[in-house]
C-alpha cells in the first residue's frame, strides 16, 4: 500500500503526477511491515486467549457469542491484510508474482482440507472395516446393496427424487400461471407460498408433526389437524407416521411444502419473460387456454423447468433432516440414503459402511449436478 492511494479518490489525477505508471511500485515503508508482523503476533495470542475463553463453560453466553462474532468477522479480513503487507515487503520483482496466491491461497487451503482431501479419504475408508483398521475389499458396498434396510432406503430415496420434484414443479407451475392472471394480490399470494423456504427442515418437521399427531384410544384427545378432520368424518384416529408405506409420502409432503415456492418463483419469472405477442397470436389462431398453456407456455420455459427440476432432484437425493427428526426411520420404514449414512456413522459407529453410503450418494449426485451446472451456465449466457 503506497501513500498515494490511501484515499478513495485513488483514480484522480494527483496520483499520476507524482509517479509515472511504468516505474516499479516502491517498497512499503518499514514501519508498516513492523505493524503487519506485530498484528500477526498479536493476532496469534489474542486468538489463543479468545479460544480459551470460548471453551470456558462458565463464561457469560452473551459475551461468548459476541466474542465469537467479532473474531469470526474481523479475523479473516485481518488475515488478508497482514498477508498483503508481508507481500509488499518482498522485492518488487517477486511481489506481483506472489500476490495472486495470497488472494486465492486461503480459499485453496480450505477447499483442499475440507473437500478434496475428504473425498479421497472417504473413498479409501469405504474399503475398510468399522474402525478403519483393515481393508475389507467391497464388503461395505456389498452391504449397501444387500442389507434390507439399505435397500429400503434406496427405494425410498428413488421415490423422493421422483415424487418431490414432480409435485413441487407441477404445483409451482400451475400456481405461477394462475397467479399471473390475478388483477391484484399476485405478489402477496406468491410470498405466502414462498415463505416456507425460509424455514428450516427441522422447524417444518415439527410443524407437520403437529398436523400428523396421533394419540391412541385412551391417551387423550387427538390434537393433530389430520386426525381432527379424519375423526370429524367419523373414522378412528390413524397413526399417520407409522402407516407404511404411506408414511413416506407424508414426509415428502413436508419437502413439497417447503420447495414449491422456489419452483413457483423461478417459473413465474420465466413465464413473465415470454413475449406477449406469442401468446396473443396463439389466442387469435383460436387456441384454448389449455392449449396455450401446453403448446406455448410450457415449451417456452422448458429450460427453466429443467433447471428447477434438477435442483430439486439433488435436494431430494440428500434429504436428511426431515426423516431424521420425524421419528424412528427404521421401524417406520422411512429410511433414506443420507439418513442411513449418519445412522451408521454416529449411532452404529461403523465408519466403513457410512463411507460406502456416502460414496454411493456422491456417485448418484455427480451426473445430476454436472447437468445442473451446465444448464445453469447456458441460461446465464443466453440472458
Amino acid at each position: 500500500m503506497t501513500e498515494v492511494v490511501e484515499t478513495p479518490s485513488a483514480s484522480e489525477d494527483e496520483g499520476l503526477a507524482e509517479r509515472p505508471a511504468d516505474e516499479p511500485v516502491p517498497r512499503a515503508p518499514w514501519w508498516k511491515i513492523l505493524v503487519a508482523f506485530a498484528i500477526l503476533v498479536a493476532a496469534y495470542f489474542t486468538l489463543q486467549i479468545a479460544f480459551d475463553f470460548l471453551r470456558d463453560e462458565d463464561a457469560n453466553r452473551f459475551l461468548i457469542a459476541a466474542v465469537a462474532i467479532v473474531i469470526g468477522v474481523a479475523g479473516v479480513f485481518a488475515l488478508f491484510w497482514a498477508m498483503n503487507q508481508i507481500v509488499d515487503w518482498l522485492p518488487s520483482r517477486l511481489r506481483e508474482n506472489v500476490r495472486p496466491y495470497v488472494f486465492i491461497g486461503p480459499a485453496l487451503v480450505l477447499l483442499s482440507v475440507f473437500l478434496v482431501y475428504p473425498v479421497i479419504n472417504t473413498i479409501v475408508l469405504s474399503f475398510k472395516d468399522a474402525r478403519s483398521k483393515d481393508f475389507v475389499g467391497f464388503e461395505n458396498y456389498e452391504f449397501v446393496f444387500t442389507d434390507e434396510s439399505m435397500l429400503r432406503s434406496i427405494r425410498n430415496t428413488a421415490l423422493w427424487i421422483i415424487v418431490v420434484p414432480a409435485v413441487a414443479v407441477t404445483v409451482g407451475l400451475v400456481f405461477a400461471t394462475l397467479a399471473d392472471r390475478l388483477r391484484r394480490g399476485e405478489a402477496v399470494a406468491k410470498s405466502m407460498i414462498f415463505m416456507p423456504m425460509a424455514i428450516s427442515f427441522v422447524g417444518a418437521a415439527v410443524t407437520f408433526r403437529l398436523i400428523y399427531s396421533y394419540r391412541p384410544e385412551g391417551f387423550g384427545t387427538n390434537i393433530g389437524l389430520l386426525n381432527g378432520i379424519w375423526g370429524g368424518l367419523g373414522n378412528e384416529p390413524v397413526p399417520w407416521l407409522s402407516e407404511t408405506p404411506w408414511n413416506n409420502f407424508f414426509l415428502m409432503v413436508i419437502m413439497i411444502w417447503i420447495q414449491t415456492g422456489f419452483a413457483m418463483v423461478v417459473l413465474s419469472a420465466a413465464i413473465k419473460a415470454i413475449p406477449v405477442e406469442l401468446i396473443e397470436a396463439a389466442r387469435i389462431d383460436g387456441a384454448s387456454e389449455l392449449q396455450v398453456f401446453f403448446k406455448v407456455i410450457v415449451p417456452s420455459i422448458a429450460p427453466t423447468i429443467v433447471v428447477v427440476t434438477t435442483y430439486m432432484v439433488i435436494n431430494a437425493l440428500k434429504v436428511f433432516d426431515i426423516v431424521f427428526v420425524m421419528g424412528n426411520a427404521q421401524s417406520n420404514e422411512t429410511e433414506v440414503i443420507a439418513e442411513r449414512m449418519i445412522n451408521w456413522f454416529f449411532i452404529a459407529n461403523h465408519d466403513g459402511r457410512a463411507a460406502a453410503i456416502a460414496v454411493v450418494l456422491f456417485l448418484a449426485v455427480i451426473p445430476v449436478m454436472i447437468w445442473n451446472v451446465r444448464q445453469f451456465r447456458e441460461q446465464e449466457q443466453t440472458r
Binding site: S11, P100, Y101, F262, V266, Y311, A358, M369
Partner: protein, 317 residues
C-alpha cells in the same frame, strides 16, 4: 445487476414487469382462478398458523383440544398466554441456543464471503499460471455432497491428520468448537461463492480497474475500495443465502458442534426437544416458532435479495 438467477429479473414484486391483464396479453382469470389461488394459499398457511396458535395457548388447552377450536371463542379469558415462550427460553435453554446460532451463523457467513471475494478478484483480474485450471477445479467441487466430507473432517478435528506417519494436520481439538463449525461451513459454501462472485466481479467494466491500476493503486486497494463497493448486490445475495443455510442447518452443526447444552444451536435444540418431549406441544410449537423468527424477518424484509440468493444458490452441492 442480475447476479446469477436462472431466470432474468426474478422478483416477487415483478408485477410491473409486464402490462397487467386489463391492458393486453394475459386474459384475466375469473372466479375459478381466484378460488384456486386462495385455496392453495390457505392450504400453505395452515401448518404455520397451527404452530403459531398452539404456541400461544396454555398447556392444558393445547393438550385437551385441537388448535382450531380456539377460533370458536377467540376472546374468552385464559385462551392465550406467553408462558410457553418464557418456559422454552429459560427452562429449555433456547436462549442459549439462539445465541449459539448467531455465533455460528454470522461468522460462517462473513468468512466464506471474504475468502471467496478475494479469490474471485484474483480469478478475474490478476494473472498467474494455472488460473483457469484452478478455477475449474474450485467450481468442480460443487458436485461434492456434504456427506462425503463429514467423516474425514471429524477425524481431523478429533485426532489431527497423519500422512505416512507424519503429522501434516495438527491435532487442534476443533471438535465442538465454533471455529470448527465456521471452517466447515465456510469450506462447504466456498465453491458456490467463488463461482457466483467471479461471475459478478469478472463482469465489472475492465476500464475502471485498468485506470485505477494506472493511477498506481495496488490490487489490495482496488479490491477493497473499488470492487467490494461495486459488488454489494452479489455479496448481499450470497450472504443471505449462506446465512439462512447455516441458520437452518442441522447436519453440520450436529456433526461438528454436537448436542451439549452449552454448544447446541437452535435446530439441534429443537430436534432434541422432539426426541425428549415430543408430545409437549406447547413447548415444541413455541420453540419451533423461536427458530423461525429470524429467517422469517430476513425473508419478509429482504425478499428481493433473498430470491436472488436462493435462485443463485440452487447449484449448491
Amino acid at each position: 445487476m442480475t447476479l446469477a438467477a436462472p431466470a432474468p429479473g426474478v422478483d416477487l414484486d415483478a408485477d410491473a414487469a409486464r402490462p397487467k391483464p386489463d391492458t393486453v396479453g394475459v386474459r384475466e382469470g375469473g372466479w375459478f382462478v381466484r378460488v384456486v389461488i386462495l385455496a392453495v394459499v390457505v392450504f400453505w398457511l395452515i401448518p404455520v398458523v397451527g404452530v403459531l396458535v398452539t404456541s400461544f395457548r396454555p398447556e392444558a388447552n393445547v393438550d385437551s383440544s385441537g388448535w382450531w377450536t380456539v377460533f370458536a371463542h377467540p376472546f374468552r379469558a385464559g385462551e392465550w398466554t406467553l408462558d410457553n415462550y418464557s418456559q422454552a427460553l429459560d427452562a429449555q435453554g433456547f436462549e442459549n441456543a439462539l445465541l449459539n446460532s448467531m455465533a455460528v451463523a454470522i461468522p460462517a457467513t462473513t468468512i466464506p464471503i471474504t475468502i471467496a471475494a478475494f479469490a474471485a478478484y484474483a480469478f478475474s483480474w490478476m494473472h498467474f499460471p494455472g488460473r483457469d485450471a484452478l478455477f475449474v477445479l474450485v467450481v468442480g467441487l460443487l458436485v461434492v455432497p456434504l456427506q462425503m466430507a463429514l467423516i474425514p473432517i471429524l477425524r481431523l478435528y478429533v485426532g489431527g491428520g497423519q500422512l505416512w506417519g507424519v503429522h501434516v494436520f495438527p491435532d487442534l481439538n476443533l471438535n465442538g468448537t465454533f471455529l470448527g463449525v465456521w471452517l466447515a461451513h465456510a469450506a462447504f459454501g466456498l465453491p458456490l461463492a467463488v463461482y457466483l462472485l467471479r461471475t459478478f466481479i469478472g463482469s465489472l467494466p475492465s476500464s475502471i480497474i485498468e485506470s485505477a491500476k494506472i493511477d498506481g493503486a495496488d490490487d489490495f486497494t482496488i479490491f477493497w475500495r473499488l470492487v467490494i463497493p461495486l459488488s454489494v448486490p452479489a455479496l448481499a445475495a450470497f450472504a443471505i443465502f449462506q446465512f439462512l443455510w447455516v441458520w437452518n442447518d442441522l447436519l453440520v452443526a450436529y456433526v461438528f458442534l454436537g448436542g451439549t447444552q452449552e454448544n447446541r444451536v437452535i435446530t439441534i435444540a429443537l430436534a432434541n426437544l422432539v426426541g425428549s418431549r415430543g408430545e409437549n406441544w406447547h413447548l415444541l410449537t413455541s420453540a419451533a416458532f423461536l427458530s423461525m423468527i429470524l429467517p422469517l424477518i430476513v425473508f419478509f424484509s429482504l425478499q428481493r435479495y433473498f430470491v436472488r440468493g436462493l435462485t443463485a444458490g440452487s447449484v449448491k452441492g
